[in-house]
Amino acid sequence: MNPDLKEIEQTLYELKPAKLPDELSTQIEEIFKNSEQNHSTHINDRKIVWLPIIQKVSAAAALLIACIGVFFAMLNDQNSSNKTTSSKVSANEPLKKNQFIPVNAKNVFEGVQDEGLFLSKDKIPYHGVRYQFSDSFLWKNEKDGSLIEMKVPSQRLFLVPIKTD
């Protein structure tokens, strides 16, 4: 290295950073005090930033629809099994070989997708929110216990009007 550079380097190494102003030191030490309080602040600071209000409302609506869907699916399932019982299969009558009976139906909320903005024919802007579900059905063979499971993806598009005034 050039002797001049060596000299400058040496000069720099001889310099030590200045002490912190007392006021600043005190202020920073205050951060470490009341640590419990800071930790609770910390937890608050890290809270999840939720979806905007409109999307929260939409998500709640979708969950409600999903719950209703599951309820009706179960009701249908129950009705159909009752019908079968009353019309064809009696308690004493043996099940036919390889007969599968539905045992479960689920409607699971998978996620939400932003579909952007739409403009209707009336020039009203809508915000499209697509909700994705997974419908699963389970049949069981009472004879040998074998199961058939079917999963069907489904989705519903909601158009939420945007307030422009």
């Binding site: 290295m1 001049d4 000069t11 720099l12 310099l15 200045a18 102003p21 470490f32 910390h42």
Partner: protein, 178 residues
């Protein structure tokens, strides 16, 4: 680790590294007040991220991470300050900062104080990317490998920037030497 010993270890860490962190912050900001604000914000960020027993972190962060936090805080601070400056320029009431000129280095004599001032002024004149490497190497306590990792550059580039920084300082401090 108890809350008390946690705070104690952080205080010790800060006493050990506070001066070099403030020096780095001074190089990243335009005024002493900004440097102190940036240091305070960065320490608060680090404390919040690293001192929570819930996350399993107790110890103060590695020094290299503290420099990264300082750099990011300085960038955020500069953005805020720029916005504020623009607002103030558009406003009828212009607020001017009265900056205190602080000594960046410890001095025990008038001569040393003068030399420290000259070096401080020279450091402020060289390109920021050179000054950053120089500060981290000489006063920051980092190796070239650590500087390279911290700045996300190859180690050779860090070493080159260090030499360029020294050369740039030479041109300012000793303009007549070859």
């Amino acid at each position: 680790m108890s809350e008390e010993s946690l705070a104690k270890s952080w205080k010790e860490w800060f006493h050990l590294n506070g001066t070099r962190l403030l020096l780095f912050a001074r190089g990243k900001t335009k005024s002493e007040a900004d440097a102190q604000d940036v240091l305070q914000d960065a320490i608060l960020r680090l404390w919040k991220s690293y001192s929570s027993p819930k996350d399993g972190h107790f110890d103060p962060p590695p020094l290299a991470l503290a420099y990264t936090a300082l750099r990011n805080t300085a960038i955020d601070h500069a953005r805020r300050t720029n916005r504020r400056t623009k607002r103030e320029q558009n406003s009828e009431f212009i607020v001017r900062d009265i900056d205190q000129v602080e000594n960046w280095f410890e001095t025990s004599s008038l001569e040393q104080s003068e030399q420290a001032k000259i070096i401080r002024d020279a450091l402020q004149q060289i390109p920021e990317k050179f000054q950053e490497v120089l500060t981290l190497k000489i006063w920051g306590g980092l190796t070239f490998a650590e500087i390279a990792e911290n700045l996300n550059i190859p180690a050779n580039t860090a070493a080159s920037r260090y030499r360029y920084a020294l050369d740039a300082l030479r041109k300012i401090l000793k303009p007549n030497s070859i």
